[in-house]
């Protein structure tokens, strides 16, 4: 079985083969892998190097905690990986980015309006949660296509707040 695991921008091809053992990017590795009880605590001995981690599955990725750092890992088997590759090279990318609320809270300000041109990193929404004001920023360059909230509104986690179109920005 061949998997492609993606961490940040790095991809690793990991092969789990009953006969050949475990290979990372075609290099065989000596692996001992144990789960501690039913928990997410895992122990890995990789060429005798001991790595202790907590691993949990999220909706679309795996969270791996090693020595204080949380790694977001996408694991796809080879077939799914290829399919996604094919799809993403097609011209069907809609070029739409949505800024969503990362947590429940109250909208303090929305410093953008429909039609505004924004750069990646520009402040688009200020959200108050846990007694702190948090700035939500544009994930890409583009034009504001819709604004769903106003100052004072209560929002839930993952609620869509602001839409940004990338294509219009390129055209203008």
């Amino acid at each position: 079985m061949k998997y492609i695991a993606t961490v940040k921008d790095r991809e690793y091809t990991i092969e789990i083969d009953p006969d050949r053992g475990i290979l990372i990017d075609d290099v065989p590795q000596e692996i001992d892998f144990q789960r501690l009880g039913q928990s997410g605590f895992l122990s890995l001995l990789m060429n005798h190097r001991s790595v202790s981690a907590v691993v949990e599955e999220k909706n679309d990725h795996w969270d791996v905690l090693i020595q204080g750092e949380l790694y977001n890992v996408q694991v796809q088997d080879e077939r799914v990986y290829r399919l996604e590759r094919m799809r993403s090279t097609g011209a069907t990318v809609d070029g739409q980015a949505i800024v969503t609320s990362p947590m429940p809270g109250i909208i303090v300000a929305v410093p953008v309006a429909v039609g505004d041109i924004v750069k990646r990193g520009d402040k688009v929404v200020v959200l108050e949660s846990m007694k702190m004001e948090n700035e939500l920023r544009a994930p890409c360059d583009g034009v504001i296509t819709h604004v769903n909230v106003t100052a004072g509104a209560n929002v839930e986690k993952d609620q869509e707040l602001v839409g940004i179109s990338q294509e219009v920005a390129e055209a203008s």
Binding site: I16, I22, G40, L42, G68, Y71, M103, N134
Partner: protein, 507 residues
């Protein structure tokens, strides 16, 4: 005994803790050690919290929002009455610095583990505090009195020299505060500070202070009994802050020597005496490059960062608080206080250091605390703990002790690596990065360091391959198991055989 200043001091055997989280646990521990029985209170969100399980008794006080539970004075006094608690410890935050609460306790015949209401009131009002301590000979940052016109303040700014800080009289937590570097920027700063202050505090009075640049935040821990004895327990270095929230504290400070410690300590004692202070308190100072120090404010309560002082002095500050509230004399004299070794505290917050320190909510799914020599964890975190937007994002404190600063830092690095919290993002990587930072190691930082000269971007993450492998093995394990559950007949191997094949893989 009800003192003239309204402070009720008497022996008590049952204590109500009007707080939650790690600090409630800290107080419960001290009370149990002294043989005092304990009463906890909890909101709907905290039924399963450790403080509820740890206390002798616990009472529900309403919905999760603090204004409907932990901040409702009547509910707390009612629980005290129903449970027979004779004293209340407010912890920090919530009602700890509300003079009205201290007064209400005294009026109800309940010991408030803290200072007299009047001391809270004076120190809680920045201008009154400034005037009071100035009269006692305590140096304050040069500034304008309240009630000056914009023209008068502008003239004063030119005279004291830029940069200056426009501050809201009613302000706090950085709100209504603006640094100004040029005279032409003053009108806008006045307007903005007024607007912010009006919105946040319903008052638009502003005044000016000289902005001390490259300043360190150094504070002195005090203990005062009800018999007029006041001592200082050395300083804490709290310069590593972000948006006026402290992140890392240490004791002693890299820049404070024995002479400066004594001078700051004596001034702090004078400031406390100026309001007839009783119990644990802290005087916060700004220390400039030339080692001049200026009174900033007094925190009339137990501080989050008290453990670093406990570790280097050997004094249990919370136990002392309880003894003082029971009317006992301080057992320690000033000459008994010796600073030994070095302690560092990292505040573990549920926030993402890689995404502008955005608070992170969720349910704790795994928690493994560091341990071993020189490591102390004051934590309220538990598996199943839902981190909600209702309360502060600080979920735990990790405190490490060493004979020297270097040893404390090495311990902290080791302990941060051991700490595992899953379910929310934490600022542990921030602390790790700081412990590796050259500026931190050499003690070269001021209160602007974190915000202006520290970045997570240059942190190198080197366990990506292991992470990829672990996630893949976990995914593989799961898919194999799923395949067997869905279609057991379709496979010619039993679970046991599959397991043994898995075992073979690991060879």
């Amino acid at each position: 005994m009800l003192r003239e200043d309204g402070l009720l001091v008497k022996k008590f055997d049952k204590l109500l803790i009007a707080n939650r989280g790690e600090i409630a646990l800290r107080i419960l521990r001290a009370a149990h050690e002294l043989g005092i029985s304990t009463v906890a209170v909890f909101s709907d969100a905290d039924r399963n919290a450790p403080h509820v399980r740890y206390a002798d008794e616990a009472y529900h006080i309403g919905p999760p929002a603090a204004r409907d539970s932990y901040l409702v004075i009547e509910k707390l006094l009612d629980v005290a009455k129903r449970s027979g608690a004779e004293a209340i410890h407010p912890g920090y935050g919530f009602l700890a610095e509300r003079a009205g609460f201290a007064q209400a306790c005294a009026d109800a015949g309940i010991v408030f583990v803290g200072p007299p209401a009047r001391a809270i009131e004076i120190m809680g009002d920045k201008l009154m505090a400034r005037a009071t301590v100035t009269a006692a000979g305590v140096p304050v940052v040069p500034g304008t009195p309240i009630g000056q016109s914009d023209e008068e303040m502008t003239a004063a700014a030119i005279q004291m020299g830029f940069p200056v800080l426009v501050k809201a009289a009613a302000g706090g937590g950085g709100k209504g505060m603006r640094p100004v570097h040029r005279v032409e920027d003053l009108p806008d700063a006045f307007a903005a500070a007024r607007r912010e202050s009006k919105a946040a505090f319903g008052d638009d009075t502003v005044y000016l202070e000289k902005l001390i640049t490259e300043a360190r935040h150094i504070e002195i821990q005090l203990l005062a009994d009800s018999h007029g004895n006041t001592i200082y327990l050395g300083e804490r270095e709290c310069s590593l802050q972000r948006r006026h929230q402290k992140l890392i504290e240490e004791a002693p400070s890299f820049v404070v020597d024995a002479d400066l410690r004594r001078r700051m300590g004596e001034v702090a004692v004078a400031a406390a005496r100026s309001v007839n202070y009783v119990n644990s308190g802290t005087i916060e100072f700004l220390l400039d490059r030339d080692k001049n120090f200026y009174f900033l404010e007094m925190n009339t309560r137990l501080q989050v960062e008290h453990p670093v002082t406990e570790l280097v002095t050997g004094v249990d500050i919370v136990q002392e608080q309880l003894r003082i509230a029971r009317g006992r004399r301080l057992r320690l004299r000033q000459e008994d206080i010796q600073i030994k070794g070095w302690a560092i505290e990292c505040r573990i917050n549920a926030e993402d250091p890689y995404n502008n320190y955005m608070p992170s909510t969720g349910t704790i799914t795994a928690a493994h605390l560091p341990a071993g020599p020189g490591v102390r964890v004051d934590s309220g975190v538990y598996v199943g703990n839902e981190i909600t937007p209702y309360y502060d994002s600080m979920i735990s404190k990790l405190i490490c002790y060493g004979e020297t600063r270097g040893e404390a830092v090495l311990r902290m690095r080791r302990a941060l690596e051991e700490y595992r919290i899953m379910g929310v993002k934490t600022n542990i990587p921030f602390h790790q990065h700081m412990m590796d930072s050259h500026r931190f190691l050499s003690g070269q930082f001021d209160t602007n360091f974190v915000e202006e000269r520290f970045s997570m971007d240059d942190r190198e993450i080197d366990r990506a391959m292991e992470a990829a492998l672990l996630a893949t093995l976990a995914a593989h394990e799961q898919s194999q198991r799923a395949a067997q559950i869905v279609a057991p007949g379709a496979r010619d191997t039993s679970n046991w055989k599959w397991l043994s094949r898995w075992e073979r893989l690991r060879r």
